[in-house]
Symmetry: C2
């Protein structure tokens, strides 16, 4: 049984942009959102792909985010920028913030940007990969509606607080992008739908008791990945993304798929440290050490961070993007409501 | 049975400095090393305390590190500094690098320093805590002799590649300091000595097979903490600390307790982002959320990163530092060899 339809990326991008334009989002912003969501689908990060269209639109309807953003730079120096996003859709705002941090980093060698008061910024790798296109090392973090307990705690304090770090190479960039929770919330929902158990050590019931029941976990709280170490990282991200830009703690962010806490990005120019070709040579050496590393029992090969997503990208850019039927139903509803032509099923 | 002796911190500091001075280390450097190692013991981080004295001295004897460092700034701009440590003892060099990054950060709002070619830098929290004393957010990472496999790999590629991040607060700083390996190498040695098993999922045999036997693990390879996420962090640290300053990949670092790969530190001035008292207010709020969080089953309270070390510090600064008898034996040998008076046992 095929439980998905397939569409081509350019058609899906056209559809996505049209939806947001019809809904009052400025054309440039809509096109950035479309580029972003479709790139997430192309890379296999479907949780941050076009499934977000109806959620973002619902967020606008409910007043959680604004279709048009009134973005303001509230503080600025040669290497640091603080932006108030005016509660606009997060992706175009974080995209502009990334352009700013790239430009300042090229001048100073290192730069950072903090954004408060913005909607969901999507897949962080979008921004760090953009930095690598300018030959910079990129880091991006966000806080988010609280779902994750601190180590030893039984209540949600942090969002899934993801981190992305990307390094330019001679080939495709090395791209890290991961939540600091032990599991993504949507995987728990999926396990509940399928009647499967979830692994031990990743979630607690609402009474703070360990559970492998996805329903109890969904009503309860997620745990940080890697125990107290993941907790520590989650806390660091809470300060960098939530506090430093003057935004909200995760605890006070409205829980919705269109919302976010704050956004923090940092860029480092390898050229400020050493000759760029020497940097690239050493990166090549590291890649070679990893790709020739003898696999552990049960593994076929060592993968670089981002390599699984690159492989999915290569497949989907040629052969189309599969959209699961429940997401397709949501997109069909949006298409009907806004009178936008659905992408052609291939 | 008491299997340790207790000494007072000031006496231990005097002893440590005298050992290094006798061994030809300049007085200022010896005093920084003494301050550093004794602070590690005070905080309960005994693996990075005075147990290192004989190892550092052995490293000098074997020519792995130099007693006097010929440190050179090889590249510099307003926010970035690259230092070649001339293969000197790591602690005084990393300490000077930290002073530089603090001073540049105060001017620019963000700054970084990379050091290649230096010995073991000890406990990273020493440097990040120093940054918090200047009201800065501090980050420090190092790579190190290879002991840790990448996710999916069966051979050592990375060092334990630790990371420290510290945040200034109105009280004691929040101090993260953790290896990106699932376990510290010395804990495996300890389990082997005691005939205990080690937990699953933290080490492989030399054939790349999972093991809970500490002897097999010691001959084999450690795993990153938190699976592929810890691997990703370890890789990021390898680039920042090893490659960016033009140093060695972990794989090429001589395996000895006196050696290190490269050192990378980054400082961020909260004042470049917002009013400092507003930053501190929000940190207070976050601390309050964490300290009032309902504990999970089996836990008494939520601890902040660095809080266990702070508690040990408060005890040991008053009541003395316990030194286990095998370390005491090593220190006695050093004292006899160098004709330095041992600290008084209290």
């Amino acid at each position: 049984m095929v439980d998905y339809v397939k569409v081509m990326h350019d058609d899906l991008r056209r559809f996505t942009a049209e939806c947001f334009i019809k809904f009052g989002v400025p054309k440039d912003d809509a096109e950035v959102i479309a580029d972003h969501l479709v790139l997430a689908n192309l890379r296999g990060v479907d949780s941050h792909g076009v499934v977000r269209i109806p959620h973002y639109i619902e967020g606008i309807k409910k007043g959680f985010v604004n279709a048009t953003s009134n973005t303001k730079v509230v503080k600025e120096s040669q290497a640091i920028t603080i932006i108030d996003g005016g509660n606009g859709l997060g992706i175009p705002i974080a995209n502009k913030a990334t352009d700013i941090v790239i430009s300042k980093c090229k001048a100073v060698g290192i730069a950072a940007v903090g954004v408060r008061n913005l909607g969901h910024v999507g897949m962080l790798a979008y921004y760090t990969m953009k930095m690598t296109k300018s030959n910079l090392i990129g880091l991006a973090v966000v806080n988010a509606p609280s779902r994750v307990a601190p180590w030893g705690g039984g209540e949600p304090v942090f969002g899934t607080n993801p981190i992305s770090i990307a390094f330019p190479t001679r080939g495709k960039p090395i791209v890290i992008d991961m939540a600091t929770s032990a599991i993504a919330a949507f995987k728990i929902r999926l396990a509940a739908m399928k009647g499967e158990k979830i692994p031990e050590g990743i979630a607690l019931t609402k009474d703070g008791r360990p559970t492998t029941d996805p329903k109890e976990a969904y009503e309860g709280v997620l745990l940080p990945f890697g125990g107290y170490k993941g907790y520590a990282l989650s806390l660091a991200i809470e300060v960098l993304a939530g506090i430093l830009p003057g935004g909200l703690l995760s605890r006070y962010v409205i829980s919705h798929a269109s919302t976010q806490g704050g956004f923090f990005a940092l860029a480092i120019d390898p050229v400020a440290f050493r000759d760029y070709s020497e940097y690239l040579n050493d990166i090549d050496k590291l890649i070679s050490v990893l790709k020739t590393c003898k696999p552990a029992q049960g593994f076929k090969e060592v993968l670089l961070p981002g390599e699984p997503e690159d492989r999915t990208y290569e497949d989907r850019i040629r052969n189309g993007i599969p959209i699961d039927l429940s997401t397709w139903k949501l997109l069909t509803d949006v298409a009907n409501e806004l009178n936008v032509k659905l992408p052609k099923v291939i």
